[in-house]
């Protein structure tokens, strides 16, 4: 209990700062992942000449472990592309890279799941391809895919612990630093694990309720 008072309670602000960095890197990473995933999925589906490069990119992102990608982005990209220059940027880029591959496949299955007849109907009503995509295909596909997209966000939050390895001061980094200073791993690591489990658990339940409500509201008929 002494340890609890002296270490955890006194350093609660450090846990808070770490949590804030975790939240930032997860949200930025996921936003970039959605954009990248949607772009690569659209290229793969609709831009014939670039289909093979897009497929290779998606498969590379999906089939490389996140830790390898993190080190790769952090150590190789600055020399290769001159970017990222900060650990934080390397962290969210690696997280985004990994998730973009999975999201691209999710988007593709969602888009391909829309009945062909609907697209043809929209065309015969004189809608342009962009309009068809935007107001017929995408809304239904997004509703279909909502659970998998939200699940991918949780995977990303869980992977975000790894950015502590490249010295991004997230929750995990603060926990490891405090452990190194005080050498009381039992309390510190257990508390951190509890925080992560609680966060992911709450998020996953909130998302599930939200996704169910969305589906109910728009009266989705699942295929």
């Amino acid at each position: 209990m002494d340890v609890w008072n002296t270490i955890i309670l006194k350093n609660l602000h450090l846990f808070g700062e770490g949590l804030w960095v975790t939240a930032q890197i997860s949200v930025i990473g996921f936003t970039v992942a959605c954009v990248l995933g949607m772009a690569s999925c659209l290229v793969r589906l609709y831009v014939r000449p670039l289909r093979i490069p897009a497929t290779v990119l998606i498969e590379f992102c999906r089939n490389t472990p996140i830790y390898v990608q993190l080190l790769w982005v952090n150590y190789v990209w600055p020399d290769l592309f001159g970017w990222p220059q900060s650990f934080f940027a390397a962290g969210w880029m690696a997280l985004a890279l990994q998730s973009s591959g999975y999201l691209a496949e999710t988007f593709r299955s969602g888009i391909e799941g829309i009945a062909r007849g609907q697209v043809e109907a929209a065309h015969s009503l004189g809608m342009s391809p962009v309009r068809t995509f935007r107001s017929v295909v995408l809304p239904q596909a997004l509703l279909n895919m909502a659970p998998s997209i939200m699940n991918q966000f949780l995977v990303l939050v869980k992977s975000s612990t790894l950015v502590s390895i490249i010295a991004v001061p997230d929750l995990m980094y603060q926990a490891m630093r405090l452990t190194a200073i005080w050498f009381q791993p039992i309390e510190i690591l257990s508390f951190t694990a509890f925080l992560y489990i609680l966060i992911v658990f709450c998020l996953s339940h909130a998302f599930k309720v939200y996704a169910d409500r969305l589906r109910e509201r728009f009266g989705l008929v699942l295929p």
Partner: protein, 232 residues
């Protein structure tokens, strides 16, 4: 362009092939060890979840939720640094886990949470009539479980199970964080000696990608064949 050529230059990676290959072997050992734990724990906790006794059900659900929601990295450090201390205090003996044991334990626990759900969805998909038919024929509940329910359940969720095994292999790269000398760990060591991160990290990524891509392609092909036979 110069740095691009450096990044895809394979000579350095090839020079250390025996060290790196022995590292890759550790990835496979950790994978196989964790796989055994995943299936043992996954199946037994699933049986708890579906038990008719409420305390067992609650414990099983708690187990699955706990390990599904815990990030693998923190679980790994927790098992490696905290669990030995807790066990030492409880059992009154000096206990220390070698990194490999912690790695197998942590990965096994982390992925068994998902496996519980996979087993459960498979078992619950078996029609109730089959179980009732088994009972009507006078089969024991052991026979019903192992000869009627499980064969059908596993056949149904085999694709999902194989996908999880591939993800587990992906996660084995994390074991290098607690100094298990796997491929990535050796790559990091060699990088510190040679100071040439570009080719080493790039080829590490390519090698992992090739292995995991072949595995997941194999799974997809097998799954398609099973589906066409009406299995899965």
């Amino acid at each position: 362009m110069e740095s691009f050529r450096e990044a895809v230059d394979v000579t350095l990676f090839w020079e250390y092939r025996s060290l790196l290959l022995s590292g890759l072997a550790f990835n496979f050992y950790a994978w196989i060890g964790a796989l055994v734990l995943v299936h043992v724990m996954g199946f037994s906790v699933c049986m708890m979840r579906l038990s008719r006794y409420r305390p067992l059900r609650v414990a099983g659900t708690a187990y699955a939720e706990l390990f599904r929601n815990c990030p693998e990295y923190i679980l790994l450090t927790w098992v490696h640094f905290v669990l030995p201390l807790v066990l030492s205090a409880l059992l009154q003996i000096k206990l220390n886990f070698p990194p490999f044991v912690s790695a197998v334990l942590a990965l096994g626990l982390a992925y068994s949470g998902y496996m519980v759900e996979t087993y459960r969805s498979g078992i619950q998909a078996v029609p109730k009539g089959h179980i009732e038919a088994g009972r009507a024929l006078g089969m024991s509940s052991f026979d019903i479980t192992f000869r009627i329910v499980l064969p059908q359940a596993i056949r149904g969720v085999l694709p999902e199970m194989l996908n999880q095994m591939v993800s587990l292999f992906k996660a084995t790269t994390l074991v290098s964080l607690i100094a298990v000398p796997d491929l990535l760990y050796n790559v990091v060591i060699v990088t510190q000696e040679e100071m040439r991160p570009l080719p080493l990290y790039t080829w590490a990524a390519i090698v992992y990608c090739a292995i995991i891509f072949s595995a997941s392609t194999l799974v997809r092909k097998l799954t398609e064949r099973w589906r066409s036979r009406g299995w899965a």
